[in-house]
Amino acid sequence: MDLKTMTYIVVGATFALYLGIAFWARAGSTGEFYVAGGGVHPIANGMATGADWMSAASFISMAGLIAYNGYGASLFLMGWTGGYVLLAMLLAPYLRKFGKFTVPEFIGDRFYSNGARIVAVICLILASITYVIGQMKGVGVAFSRFLEVEYDTGLYIGMALVFFYATLGGMKGITYTQIAQYVVLIFAYTIPAIFISMNLTGNPLPQLGLGSTMSDGSGMTLLAKLNLVVTELGFKEYTTQTMAGRLDMFVYTLSLMIGTAGLPHVIVRFFTVPKVKDARSSAGWALVFIAILYTTAPAVGAMARLNLHETIQTGEIGSPEGNLSYEARPQWFKNWEKTGLLQFEDKNGDGRIQYYNDKNPEMAAKAESFGWKGNEMVKVDRDIIVLANPEIANLPDWVIALVAAGGLAAALSTAAGLLLAISSAISHDLLKGVFMKGISEKAELRAGRISMAGAIVVAGYLGLNPPGFAAGTVAIAFGLAAASIFPALMLGIFYKRMNKEGAIAGMIAGISVTMLYVFQHKGILFIKGTEFLGDLGPNWFLGIQPNAFGAIGALVNFAVAIMVAKMTTEPPQHIQDLVESIRTPRGAGGAQAH
């Protein structure tokens, strides 16, 4: 059986499973949609949260970012896990005690203002749409490889599928489907990693393999070997390189952590656990399941990088026979060339592949003397690393097929969760909550579906021209959530004196500063050519990249909110009593329907 058939079978089987579960869960819980989480054990809820959380960015992009940024990419690892500590302690139990279903609903009630609710909806939509763009890029990459079509075609197919999936599966029994998706994606991620770790170091646990000695008889540790291989080709040392300096790394990590705790589709998951107590531990279980992937990713990245260089640089650097002949390139290389995400150009016409850092002047001079005319791997899209990894390591076809299924599961489960958050913000918060209070259930649902379709089209359009790697795009979404939603929620719980004027001014200031900073470097609405300051290091404020700016936006939000609140009247007594009451667990009702 060839790879393509195998992939169709595995991907088809997993999709049949999700649909089956969605159908079964729907039959079991009619009319109980909003309390579906109420009967779910914290461990199961944690697993579902893990699938909801781990998106195309985690599954497809992150290891690629680690492979190329080495130590510098640690900010994704710490940022996307450390946020759960904040979520578990600062938000989840209190929002659960409050007992409503959307984030804008809490903000509207706590700040006794429809204005605050509307601002929260806008912030939520901006952050979520940006996040969906990242998923779309991931879906496009996965489909283009899997169906062997151009990236654009892959993206269109993905859009259609996400729409179908989100409107059907997204509305019913989503928790159980996500548990199945978690199982698929975690197997798909760890099995190749175990194989590769065994091959390279003899240690089956990737977390330990990354810190082990190579089994090739060189006696070097894997990381020392990798450092040697990359520096010899003129790249930066793997275990010490940073993306844009240490201050940027600090701020970027903080931005991702705060953003994690402010992303509405994650927060909502803690609204429906049975008790306040469960909201606390459920965040812990979610992080356990997330950590399994996140501690494997560094090994996947490092090992893929090593395998890639060793595939191309087969012999001594500079010897005529030292580089892989283009004619002899492996099958995976040909497959990825078809997608346009991997491109080779024989600059010196020797029929062999030279892959090195020609931006490094010292290396460029050395390469010149070998008769090399520049780096010939003109495009190696970072997002292909995880999908190509099992092929690069010559793993059996079923493993490769499983990885395709895992990537799709990750992208689809997250996209569905986000689209649900967007559509509920529009139909529940904007229409039913503010503008059309008398709207019927049926009309609310229809409005939800229409806004979902609109969101997919916008995200798909921007996905055709994405502002960066999937993980980079997603990072901007976190920045927006960090600058707007997290500070408003935290002040609402921990600062009794916070009033509506302060909260509204804070959210507007935080998200404006962040958007302005991102747009001035990345183009207005990410459209290329409209940026008014170049996307270059020297133009960055204190050398902080736009993706990392959310933490600064959050600080601005806190500062403005507190200042404005101090200058205006304190909130009414019943609001201060409300804050007292959400601070203690007793009296939390069952997860409410509405």
């Binding site: 680690i66 130590y71 640690s74 690892l77 710490m78 896990t81 450390g82 759960y84 500590v85 578990a88 302690m89 600062l90 139990p93 977390q207 330990l208 990354l210 810190g211 082990s212 000695t213 540790t221 894997l222 990381l223 020392a224 275990t239 010490t240 240490r246 790394m249 600090f250 990590t253 903080l254 008790k275 306040v276 107590k277 606390r280 531990s281 965040a283 812990g284 992080l287 356990v288 950590a291 996140y294 501690t295 560094p298 019943h574 009593d577 409300l578 007292e580 009451s581 601070r583 203690t584 667990p585 007793r586 009296g587 939390a588």
Partner: protein
């Protein structure tokens, strides 16, 4: 909206105390060991891992998991001590 039972202020102080402890550890292992002190810690090795690199890519994540469960357990105790727990 019901008023909290028990000694509200003492309960909230205990909660904030626990939050502070956990946040300090959270900060030290990630921003401290993983970022600021990484160049220094890298001279120490944990197996084949430079220590700062290990904290940034492995250690901090394990500690985050432990922190949440520690927080959940301690918080449960504080709830009971101040008689504000559920059921």
């Amino acid at each position: 909206m019901e008023k909290p039972q028990g000694s509200g202020d003492a309960y909230w102080r205990a909660t904030l105390g626990l939050l502070t402890t956990v946040l300090i550890i959270w900060f030290v292992v990630s921003f401290g060991f993983g970022i600021i002190l990484q160049p220094m810690l890298d001279s120490i090795h944990l197996g084949g891992y430079p220590l700062g690199f290990w904290f940034a890519q492995q250690g901090s994540i394990y500690i985050f998991v432990a922190l949440i469960f520690f927080y959940a357990a301690r918080m449960g105790q504080i709830d009971r001590d101040h008689d504000v727990h559920e059921d």
